[in-house]
Symmetry: C2
Subunit: 351 residues, 2 copies
């Protein structure tokens, strides 16, 4: 059964639960796993956040919950229609479409939450249900070939800015590749540097330009290349708490998306740099940590995702030196240095 | 002579001016056109902002200007090296590279300004000089074929998110196309809607996803397709002052970039909507104007770029109804409505 059929079946089964209750003269009710903070657990085996066992019950017997159930049924029906017709919609579009429904939403926040309710109840991502994020994912450059509907695309032949991961990345098949690893970088400035210095050849690598915090589509892509193609994933970001955390969300997922981390997190992805040690060892140009950086680093040091020794040591070191450094600061030694010297040394130490 | 040779020659001529002064025992000086507000003029014939005739003189005879001239020479030399080697760098990278120079910069703001000085003095964009913005441009979908180095790319075959306009768009050639117009939309949500509803076929059109305020590369691309391929360009944004202005910067350029508007502005591009009239005629879901929207609309009404009657009328109308509407609000009538009904009606009225 393909993903599309699974989605339609799951959506239909939601309706069946309600219908069955009606036929048996029971008050219809739906179990919705709780997304409250107390039900979000860091799973040390899986190495990402998951939801615990708690759930809430939405019952038509509860006056306060009637609207919520009706909204959920409408959204589910809308999604079923999308998936069947092979279409997608943004959450914003769904919100506007809902103006024509018999139940409506106070604002988009309310309809977004019902979308999440559906994700968590069915155990599928909203992309599987046809509800797409607005934002595109990262740029990919390197020798990999995708099949997207009837089009075959090689990511060396999509232009200097590479192949853009679209929100529908799960419908894209990996046809062929000739790379041994994936290097993801935080900024498009660094992405273009890597392309220009032939880093994709030098390291037999895909280059992925994250554009800051990785979009859901990017996380899904990195998980897929890591698991389906067995490619190691390295992440190279700015050397500051924000760069650390962009990497960590790729590796161990976010608490907010605990219910879909099993589809988004790539626990085997590795943070390559820029570390506090790199700042010292490579004598990089730095900026002093701001109060908010210090605060954030202290938060990270208590976060279960950062519990391993290497992270703890790097966070402490950064707090001690009181400095941060950007990816592009390697240019101090010339534009080529990051590809000719830094990355080979770091990759060797990690592989 | 190609752009690369022109850039190298212009950069060399800057050095020649200084050398000649030295040889003739004059105090070396460089004329830099002024970018001050009083020298930025709206040119009603060209229909965009240009620089006036005023210029400043940077002289080695003035102690305060010695550093500035030295910085400019170093930056020019860096650019000459980039262009000759067929490389590019971001302003951020240049700032870090400058750490190895005999003159340095207090912060990146200072080195950015010297980059602009060079643009305005030589009458070339910084992209021509190898200094690239970080950000990529818009996404393009539709039947156009590009030549980028040795790679030929058709924008129907680059993936669902289309071909990404890279900062080096001026090095890309237009090989072939089979479209009659270009429709640029503000959000990627609308871009994906247009692709999904086959708007590129229906309107024989390129679809361009602007991603908000258009990047320099996007503006350059739109100007080139408009002038080199004679394709009319239509812009469809949110119906609010910000959507208006995203369109206007594409059409008539910004004051800040008056010195390069001749390479970036597309005065024949047309704003298609969403207008205040559309909000009324299509009875769109709206949000009330916020104070900041009202303030901005009043500013726009006094801006010379908005002086024509149609704009003045639409701004007044929006202030009168006190409402704004997003592109995606057409979904009220179903996901297909914007492509099946709104766009055909608007295009017919404009063509």
């Amino acid at each position: 059964m393909n993903k599309k059929d699974i989605a339609v079946n799951k959506l239909k089964s939601l309706g069946d639960i309600i219908l069955e209750d009606v036929h048996q003269n029971n008050v219809p009710a739906i179990k919705v796993p709780s997304r409250g903070t107390s039900n979000i657990v860091y799973d040390t085996d899986k190495r990402y956040y998951v939801l615990g066992d708690r759930y809430g019950k939405r019952s038509l017997g509860n006056v306060k919950q009637i609207t919520k159930i009706a909204q959920m049924v409408y959204v589910a029906n809308f999604c079923k229609d999308l998936v069947r017709r092979g279409k997608t919609a943004t959450l914003r579009e769904m919100y506007y479409v809902s103006e024509g429904w018999d139940v409506d939403f106070g604002d988009q926040q309310e309809s977004n939450i019902v979308g999440e309710d559906l994700e968590v109840t069915l155990g599928m991502t909203r992309e599987d249900l046809g509800l797409m994020p607005e934002e595109d994912g990262a740029s990919v450059y390197g020798n990999i070939t995708f099949q997207d509907d009837d089009v075959e695309i090689n990511a060396l032949r999509a232009g200097k800015s590479g192949y853009t991961i679209s929100p529908t990345i799960d419908e894209v098949d990996f046809v062929d590749h000739d790379v041994r690893r994936v290097i993801a970088v935080e900024t498009m400035g660094m992405f273009h540097r890597m392309v220009q210095e032939n880093a994709y050849k030098k390291f037999d690598s895909l280059i992925v330009g994250l554009k800051g915090q990785a979009a859901r589509a990017t996380r899904r892509f990195l998980k897929r290349v890591n698991e389906e193609l067995n490619l190691p994933v390295y992440i190279c970001n700015d050397g500051d708490p924000w760069g650390f955390h962009i990497a960590m969300v790729i590796i161990s997922g976010s608490a907010k998306l605990a219910h879909v981390n099993h589809q988004l997190a790539t626990p085997d992805a590795k943070f390559l740099g820029v570390t506090a040690s790199d700042i010292i060892n490579y004598d990089l140009p730095t900026d002093p940590l701001k109060d908010i950086d210090v605060l954030r680093l202290k938060e990270l040091s208590k976060d279960p995702r950062y519990k391993d020794e290497a992270w703890q040591m790097e966070i402490k070191k950064m707090l001690k030196i009181g400095k941060k450094a950007e990816q592009q600061s390697f240019s101090k030694y010339g534009l080529e240095y990051v590809v000719d010297t830094y990355l080979p040394e770091k990759l060797e130490s990690m592989e």
